[in-house]
Amino acid sequence: MHDIVLGERSTTDRILRALVYAILIGFVLFYLAPLYVMVVTSVKSLEEILAGGLLNLPKKLDFYGWDEAWNNACVGTECRGMAPFMINSLIASTLATIIPTAIGALNGYALSLWRFKGSELFFGMLLFGAFIPFQIVLLPMASFLGWIGWSSSLTGLTFTYIVYGLPFTTLYFRNFFVSFPIDLVNAAKIDGIGYFRFFWRVALPSSVPIMIVSVIWQFTNTWNDFLFASTMTKLESATVMVALNNFVEVANGVKRYNVDMAAAIIAGLPTLVVYLVAGRYFLRGLMAGAVKG
């Protein structure tokens, strides 16, 4: 902590300090405003919304928007609400979280604790895959999924998430295991502890924090994905983000903002909850994705 700007003594310092708090509060309001607006709008009646008063609290709580969004929202000709799409997202994201995390753990373990000739190059090449604009693989991936019989299916989408999640999960575990004392591996080698036994009994149990990071990263990223989901699903296999966009974009007649906002909150709630529960790990994932090595 550096508190150079502000000591506690003089009047000037106290004024400065008040100013710092004022600016921070301003920013806090700025960051909260959209969420606040979403929430209040979602529980207003449409008449009240159209009457203006963006920031006003609802005069009367009206859960029409939530009811509609959850039960009746139409995407295409299907008016089954957000629920089925939430389930699609949940399935895709869960699988696309568990599998790449497991593989990434093994990869990172091999790349850091059992380096071999070319392992750094391998890591570098794989890492590049985390940064490519996914547009570059969109067309061939669509063809591939069709060829294998997974086109426009949740299976195909999940597979895509798994493949392009691997660079990230590998990065996490590799950078975690890199700081693992190499003596542990040496000890294991001498004591005749096998590669997999060491992984299973020592490396993996010690990597719980980074596992959480990896899980949160994969979950939020796949949940929030739109590019792949919008090209690789059809109505039945659409994820909640595709459904939300479809639903918000394609209003039939008058736009029902309360329903839109409720739908948006529903779609964003899972990742928001994850963030609030495990924000520390979420941030760590972001940072690890940003700062290599």
Partner: protein, 420 residues
Amino acid sequence: MKLKRKCAAFLAVSAVALSSATPVLAQGKLDIIHWWTSGGELAGIEVLRENIEAQGIEWIDAASAGGAGTNARTLFRTRVQAGDPPAVMQALGTEVNEWAETGILGDLTALADEEGWYDLVPEPLHPFMNVDGSTVAVPAVWSQINWVWGNKAIFEEHGVAPPQTWDELVAAAKVFKDAGITPIAHGGQPWQDTAIFDGILVSFDDPEFYKKVAFEQDRETLEGPMFREAMERLRWYSQQLDEASPGREWTQAQAMVLNGEAAMSWMGDWAKGWRVAQGQKAGEDFICFPTPGSNDMFVWLADFFFFPRIEGEADNAAQQAFASAVMEKQFQHDFSLIKNGLPVRTDVDNAEWDDCTRDSIARAERANERGGLVASLGFAHSARSDVQGVFRDTLSEFVNTPDMSVDEGIEILIDGLDSL
């Protein structure tokens, strides 16, 4: 007790099996990509669905709403790429031709000959059904684009009669504007920006001009005074809109007219379908008139279904059954009523049509006599999609850039066409 229930269950199952087996003419399944998801469109496709399902065919709806088929097209392309095309795809105009040329479409020639489609369907539609001598698509409905829909109450309240000429339109708009009403409700999406330009192009009542622009992209005409005037009219149009129009869905624009926020809107006759689905009545709640100056012009688009080649005999039979069902007289009658458009058969009974549709039919006939029955540019009927794309990008940019001069707009357009 237990036994009894089992028996009952068995009987029930048999009954279901029997009842569903009896009326089956064809079997198989169809997955259908379309973008008819609003009001009258949705009701229209439901009619078709009932018909198909009554034949024991499984209907797998792959509707994808939005952007005049943008999302549906994306979905279709991905699935073609993936080698998993749907059984049925909705298409507009030259899209049929473009896809037919890739060789992925199935052939309906035998069915067309058997049912005598080419005798029933108006001739302008033939080039989109028949590519290189083989029938690849079936039209579902065709629509007049140069329509204006007005809020009857507002027009009457301000004593404005439906404008017949461009000048009258300008005057009418001024009245509304002065009264604090948005003259024109517009959905500012690129396809809509282009669609209303179809209406402007025919507002000169000059078939030759339309053809030079829409079919030939004749450079001399594009640089000529009439096209300049067309762009001026588009600029004027863009000034009659409310500020929130960009990005708006067409149904929202219609709703603004319906709610009295705006006086009128330009849109094809599917907008009437939407109104009817909202419980509105032509002549009572809303008025319809052609875009000023185009009373004897008819710019049209047609919705087609085409049928990618797929595996499976039952499914192929189902495709044929679908095509046949679309062409059926009764369906054409019902569909044109519900979805609101013109039937693609000339022999459909017209007793139940409202005034707007009758007017439209009459206009089509009038226009046809003088060569004014023309295919839409905005929906890629008169030209391929890359040409249409240049128009779409340019016009949309022009509409949304208030300080872009007409000359600049024309220059960008011609540059774009040259770069193809």
